[in-house]
């Protein structure tokens, strides 16, 4: 059963599994680099999945759905920023509140809008981005060049953020704010403004990940559909050592583990399926253990900034 067709399916499936996690993890990377922990990704992704679906149906375009999802994600993340940065509430507590809030808002919102009507309407799907010439290549074409646009956007985003953090003044300022806010403040960098910006960006990206899940991958919304991906995204940030390209690798590794486990279930039906289902999580935990030693945790992560004046 292990042949080219099998591997092609596996690789393509890994990319699809990785994409929603990648978006959320990249957004969280930026928030954490600026010093703010947001454990509420799960809730924001759920709201993104719901708002993306409703937005796509209402505007008649998947891109309209994506924009509305990102706006809603920013609104939720804005709440988190307000509590953590302005009111200096504990960041973990505020994040947990976001999970509960997001679960409730998405479920209730769904019933108020499209979910209340017997058969939910279908959202206009993202067109598959077939690249002339490339998509028809044997093997590689099927793995790399026959996906929906958000898959490529996610990968491009990882490269863009890596460049942004390393090569631009803003990137440097964000890193400074996350490592030593007092010094950054003394140098005239607005700590809170940078942190607000990063948290809002993180919210928009988590919601984009949720929107991919509902509008692009499934083509429908069901309550609780994010199913823990928000937490895996946080693990990917740590495993990726807060660097966008490594976070991309972490998300791909997780996606590959998922894609592999569902196929192994079919190949080896006599082995208890739980062994396969837990595989991606074992990979995540093992990766964290390996990485934890050489941690590059932003020094001011999770600490509120109190201006010294």
């Amino acid at each position: 059963m292990i042949d080219t067709l099998f591997l092609v399916g596996l690789a393509a499936s890994a990319l699809r599994f990785a994409t929603p996690i990648l978006f959320a993890a990249l957004g969280e990377t930026m928030a954490q680099r600026s010093g703010v922990l947001n454990v509420g990704l799960e809730g924001i992704m759920l709201v993104g999945a719901f708002a993306g679906m409703v937005g796509a149906v209402w505007t008649g375009s998947p891109w309209g759905g994506l924009v509305i999802a990102m706006a809603c994600g920013m609104a939720l993340a804005g709440l988190h920023a307000l509590f953590c940065l302005t009111f200096r509430v504990d960041q973990i507590l505020s994040g947990i509140a976001l999970i509960v809030l997001g679960t409730g808002l998405s479920g209730f919102g769904w019933r108020l809008t499209l979910g209340g009507t017997g058969t939910p309407p279908k959202a206009p799907p993202f067109p598959r981005l077939d690249l002339p010439g490339l998509s028809d290549l044997p093997v590689v074409g099927q793995i790399l060049f026959q996906h929906q646009p958000m898959v490529y956007l996610g990968i491009a985003l990882a490269f863009a953020l890596a460049w942004f953090l390393r090569r631009t003044t803003w990137g440097l300022e964000i890193r400074a704010v996350g490592e030593n806010p007092a010094a950054a403040d003394a140098a005239g960098i607005g700590v809170l403004a940078r942190r607000y910006g990063c948290v809002l960006f993180g919210g928009a990206m988590a919601a984009a990940g949720g929107c991919y899940l509902s509008v692009s991958q499934v083509g429908g919304f069901v309550e609780n559909m994010v199913s823990g991906r928000g937490f895996i995204a946080i693990a990917c940030v740590v495993f990726g050592q807060w660097r966008p390209l490594r976070v991309l690798c972490a998300a791909l590794l997780f996606g590959a583990a998922e894609a592999a486990q569902i196929r192994l279930q079919l190949i080896a039906p006599h082995i208890p399926y739980q062994l396969f289902v837990m595989m991606p999580y074992v990979v995540a935990v093992a990766a964290l253990v390996v990485v934890a030693r050489s941690t590059r945790l932003p020094a001011a992560l999770g600490r509120p900034f109190v201006p010294d004046r």
Binding site: S13, F17, Q217, V218, G219, G220, V222, S227, Q265
Partner: protein
């Protein structure tokens, strides 16, 4: 005279509440009523019962595993007459607490627990439903490979899985039967990916059991333009040109029946197991596929259901 009046008053007081008493019913669900399958069915059942009996219903959705015992306890303490847990996972907590509240009936749906004096359960013969779904799949498959994607292998889903394989082989002995589990009832995206991998592996008829994950299987079948067989809740409306039929598991009947039996006082602390004979199972119409399935094949399915009803099918899955 005084004594007589007191007696009359006492008799009146005793009689009144029994006459006008509204039954307080709590229905505790593991997921949302919008899932289009498992939890929607429970909601449908309680709505049906509301129309027939004098009941006041409290509905609780999205009950996490760890909250089950506390939820059941709080309803019982609040004096509910009936507490219904919808799902296998409610069996153990109900077993643990039911004796503390002898005035409350505890009903567990889709499980097989029972204990005197006040714990009963209702379940359907999921294995028989799977058997019929498998038989349909075995008849309509062109490539000779069919697949079942389960949510989490709780007993009823395992029974369905066993039945699906046996039913398919009854109609086509050389059929290849694939089986996999999502490991979650809500992860619709993973359900879709697993189904897609089955279709890549050659399956051209797929079915699914669970909650929201079922939607993922039907979507995957629709995207790949292969056939799907719905489970529990009629799925034709979601994808009319994909869903051949649905092996109906009338979980709403269970709830309706449970409340009916409590109202008329005939309920016993035992497990009620409903199959085709008791309207606990059924098969949805073929609709868009009515013209595509040869009449002889349709007759085979009709005969099979008649045989199951008559107890003539010997390899139905064992009840777990």
């Amino acid at each position: 005279m005084k004594t007589m009046m007191a007696l009359a008053m006492a008799a009146l007081l005793a009689a009144l509440p029994a006459e006008a008493k509204t039954l307080k019913v709590a229905l505790v669900l593991p997921g949302p009523i919008t899932d289009g399958t498992f939890n929607s069915a429970a909601n449908q059942g309680i709505e049906k019962a509301k129309g027939k009996y004098d009941i006041q219903v409290s509905l609780r959705e999205n009950t996490q595993f760890a909250e089950i015992e506390e939820t059941l306890l709080s309803y019982a303490r609040d004096g509910y007459d009936v507490v219904i847990g919808h799902g296998f996972q409610f069996a153990e907590p109900a077993m643990k607490i039911h004796k503390q509240f002898p005035k409350t009936w505890f009903i567990v749906n889709t499980a097989k627990v029972a204990e005197a004096p006040n714990l009963a359960s209702f379940d359907n013969r999921w294995g028989d439903a799977g058997y019929v779904a498998g038989a349909v799949a075995g008849l309509v498959t062109k490539k000779g490979a069919v697949g079942h994607v389960g949510g989490i292998p709780v007993p009823v889903i395992k029974e369905y899985n066993d039945g699906f394989g046996r039913g398919a082989k009854r109609m086509r002995p050389d059929v290849k039967v694939l089986s996999a589990y999502v490991g979650s009832f809500s992860d619709v995206a993973k359900g879709k990916e697993i189904t897609a991998s089955m279709i890549e592996g050659g399956a051209d008829v797929v079915t699914s059991t669970g909650n929201e994950n079922v939607l993922g299987t039907i979507q995957a079948a629709k995207d790949a333009k292969v056939m799907a067989i719905g489970t529990a809740f009629d799925a034709a409306a979601i994808a009319p040109d994909t869903v051949v039929t649905t092996a109906l598991i009338n979980m709403d009947t269970n709830i309706d029946m449970a409340i009916g039996k409590i109202v008329d006082g005939t309920i016993e602390p035992k497990n009620y197991l409903l199959g085709f004979n008791e309207n606990g199972l059924g098969l949805a119409p073929y609709r868009n596929f009515a013209d595509k399935i040869p009449a002889a094949d349709q007759q085979k399915i009709t005969d099979l259901i008649a045989d199951i009803k008559a107890g003539k099918v010997t390899d139905l899955p064992a009840i777990q």
